[in-house]
């Protein structure tokens, strides 16, 4: 079973993030980046699924030079090799363009399953997995909270608000994984040292036969028109109990539409 995991390099969600005022894209200069934490779950599931077989786990990312860190992290966790698509013309790409690049890159790889996170932690659109599946004509089983691979069949449990569905698909297929699927492993020191020697292939748009005009800010179907930082949190309100504390609390919660 060969599995490709698509991972995104994102600005650290715990840092102060902002947009670049010149073109309304995410400011990637100011903050440290990392492998999207939600994508670590996809890496974990891919590693588990590949564990007993003799297949390989390949980690694939589209992103700037620093995105090599995300590939490396997945290799440290145990993936076998990496593919990094990097090209200046990719900057500003939207989900549509990202899915095109991923689909073309997947075309150069051998895979039975393609794993994705449920959503990136920066763009958070949650659409790339299905867009890639559409482009490749593959079945997509998304938001899997439990993933079982048996032969060429993948079975996924999806937990919805009112029902739990169990879905199976036959490889080749696209699978996206939630953060309920099981805690991702920490890389061991052995894994970190081993990752140094694992191969990473660097690809450009021309390697994939993609014309620069199909991707990037110019080709984006969506555009960020304006942005503003969220207003700072206001100070809490202290309710003093003068016998009517319960009523006041209820009124406060009602005024904020919590009850």
């Amino acid at each position: 079973m060969n599995i490709v995991v698509c991972v995104k390099y994102v600005p650290d969600a715990t840092a102060d993030r902002s947009f670049d005022s010149s073109d309304s894209t995410v400011d990637r200069e100011g903050v440290d980046g990392l492998l999207s934490e939600l994508d670590e779950y996809a890496v974990e599931q891919a590693l588990l699924a590949a564990e007993d077989g003799d297949g390989e786990v390949t980690v694939l990312t589209v992103g700037p030079a620093d995105a090599a860190d995300a590939v490396r992290k997945a290799l440290q966790m145990g993936a076998d090799k990496g593919v990094h698509v990097e090209d200046d013309d990719i900057a500003g790409s939207d989900a549509v363009a990202t899915s095109l690049i991923l689909a073309k890159a997947l075309g150069t790889l051998e895979y039975d399953l393609v794993f994705f996170g449920m959503s990136s932690t920066d763009g958070t659109m949650g659409v790339v997995p299905t867009m890639v599946a559409e482009r490749l004509g593959l079945p997509a089983v998304t938001y899997g909270s439990e993933i079982t691979v048996d032969g060429s069949t993948v079975t996924v449990r999806r937990d919805g608000d009112v029902a739990t569905e169990t879905i199976t698909a036959t490889a080749p297929a696209v699978v996206s994984v939630t953060d309920q699927s099981g805690e991702p492993r920490y890389p061991s020191f052995k894994g970190i040292m081993a990752a140094k020697k694992k191969p990473v292939e660097d690809l450009t748009l021309s390697d994939l036969g993609i014309d620069a005009s199909e991707v990037g800010l110019g080709a984006a179907w969506t555009k960020v028109l304006s942005f503003a930082p969220r207003p700072p949190r206001s100070a809490g309100e202290i309710v003093t109990d003068e016998g009517d504390g319960g009523t006041k609390l209820a009124e406060f919660l009602a005024s904020k539409k919590f009850v």
């Binding site: 052995k190 970190i192 040292m193």
Partner: protein
Amino acid sequence: MAYSTLSPEHEAFRKVVRDFAQAEVAPRVAQWDRDHHFPVDLVAKMGELGLFGLTAPEEYGGSGGDFTSLCVAIEELGRVDQSIGITLEAAVGLGINPILTFGNDAQKAQWLPDLVAGQALAGFGLTEPGAGSDAGATATKAVLADGEWVVDGAKQFITNSGSSITSVVTVTARTGVRDGGRPEISTIMIPSGTPGFVAEAAYDKLGWHISDTHPLSFTGCRVPEENLLGERGRGYAQFLATLDDGRIAIAALAVGCIEACLDLAREYALDRQTFGGPIGRKQGVAFQIADLAVAARAARALTYEAAAMKDAGVGGQELKQAASIAKLYATEQAVTATRIATQVFGGYGFMEEYPVARFYRDAKILEIGEGTSEVQRMLIARGLGLPVE
């Protein structure tokens, strides 16, 4: 990434251990400390992460890594909690290393896999009621009779020796008398549960509440002759050989303590308001925190220089001197750092609710264990060729 003299791999590993400590240790450590609880489940997770096997060969489940990586792990755990840091330090330095260095193949195969996996712990009993700094004064005796060692005596302050997963303790004992009357000292492995071996009730300690420390007693305790670790009569020399590593590792633990004090004090000084502004705007506070940054950096430099020497295969007097210098400086600075940090916290620093109070209690032992500050000064002075007795 910030500049580092360590390799990118060591820094990546530091990040992993830091995340691990934040996720697995930080949320639970205050409660464990209050309850004097030794977290066997955490030890197992540390084992899964490969921390106990960092310097062990792959055939026993280790990573075949270097000593620097172990120091990084101890530092990062120690930055969140010193007891957890010493649990790792002692498990590797005193538990695994003597078996790895002096054990025969059968002994290694029997004990190492579980120790490396974090499924078991081993203690090393050198100190006795009447033999601490003067470790050669060991009074515990082992007599060979009918193919068995019969051990009688007592050990004092032995780390990881009485936990529910302690599988074995290695002890030094007199096994005879040399020509000239000096005692012959050997090292013997005593499995937990051997009749006559009792790990007495845990100590009520000033700090390191989470760490497992017991007095041990041996009364007619019999183990097979094969439980001799290394060569008969080489016990004291073997123990001396493991000391340099231990000192560097304790220095790494102290570096973690200083860094914790720096982080906590800096954050508090920015936050705490007096006389209409944060206390950190006052030089009296800010300059002390500046000193903490200097101490952290200097202690770290000495520690990782010594670790790099060890990894580069430097041995003998040169390594001993570097290890003692790092241990002495880092541990004394750690004690100073906890005093400064609690002072910055004012009355809150004296409250158990705040981690600085725990660090304050935990730091003192750093100046005592694995060779007191006085012993380090004595060794360093001797290393300089001074005729210190």
